[in-house]
Amino acid sequence: MRDNVYLQLIAVFVPLSLLSIGGGQTIVAAIEHQAVIVHGWLTQREFVDLFAISRSAPGPGSLMATLVGWKAAGWPGAAVASLALFVPSSLLAFVATLLWRRHDRHPWHRRAQIGLAPVATGLILASSLTVLRAASSTWPVWVLALSALAVFVSRPKVSPLFVLFTAGLLNVLVGKIG
């Protein structure tokens, strides 16, 4: 069974699904180690490229797993890797949802919501700073991010895709000039 690539994908991604505490980015290094060094599904260079693609493409960054599965074994590999990564943690989230909703009429449930909401709010704000501080953030990136923030705050109804694509085009223009 050691030779079956689908079983290998399951053996890699099911444990990572349950270990990815705090979000998908925490397991990127482990995926890289397994995919590049242990199993040789793709090269280091390919992994870096796929990582960049999964970051900027629509959908969650953990779609990285889909791409690794695809490199390892084509479309079936993509499906197997995705299911192996998303099903176990989703089942757990589902159980947690049931438990959390079970007492939703109690007064403490409402209070618990009030207590937990600020945490998510702080994390949303922190995540934007983390992304900006990470890696290759040049000054145009900061300017675009802050400009987009100003647009979204002053015009909440604006189409996000319009703002995002405009920012993309502006960054291309800056690259041509600079």
């Binding site: 629509p58 779609l63 943690s89 009030i114 702080g122 700073l129």
Partner: protein
Amino acid sequence: MSTDAARRTPDVSCVAIALLFGRVGLTSFGGGLSAWLYREVVAQRHWLDEGEFLSAMTLGQILPGSNVVNLSVYVGYRMRGVPGSVVAVVALLAPPMLVIVLFTSLFSNWLQGAAVHRFLEGIAAAAVGMTASVGLRAGRAVVATQRWPLALIVAVFVAVGVLRWPLVPVALVAGVAGLVLAGRAGTDA
């Protein structure tokens, strides 16, 4: 935040769930999907109020797995039970999976061109701005009725964003602190 304890969930079909999550999955360039979901689910359609959405998001952060997928499990379940949950997650993930593999297989070389790289980088930068605006909006809603949550928001932001402390322990400690403070302040319920 709504103080109506018996707040009823709007009647939402599985088709509506599939359309919303499919749209978020396919249009959320540059990541930050929770911000996209907040815009759609809370700000524009009022399927859930801020407090419920954000507390579910906190739980989703502490649990293993992609945060936005955990959040989708919750939102789908609240709108339409088990089928809603499944529809939300599949609609969120399947379309971008197809797209990302198709794009990578067809345009792999093109995707690595300098102009495309800069285009995607600009999109990701604006997505950060959108995430921050959602954070500000959520923060305004959270502190609308009581002031103490502001201290917790700032503490979490500084710990994770500025000091780069690990997310899960911070979320756990801050979550417990939030529960205690809400219990003390709790005349709202």
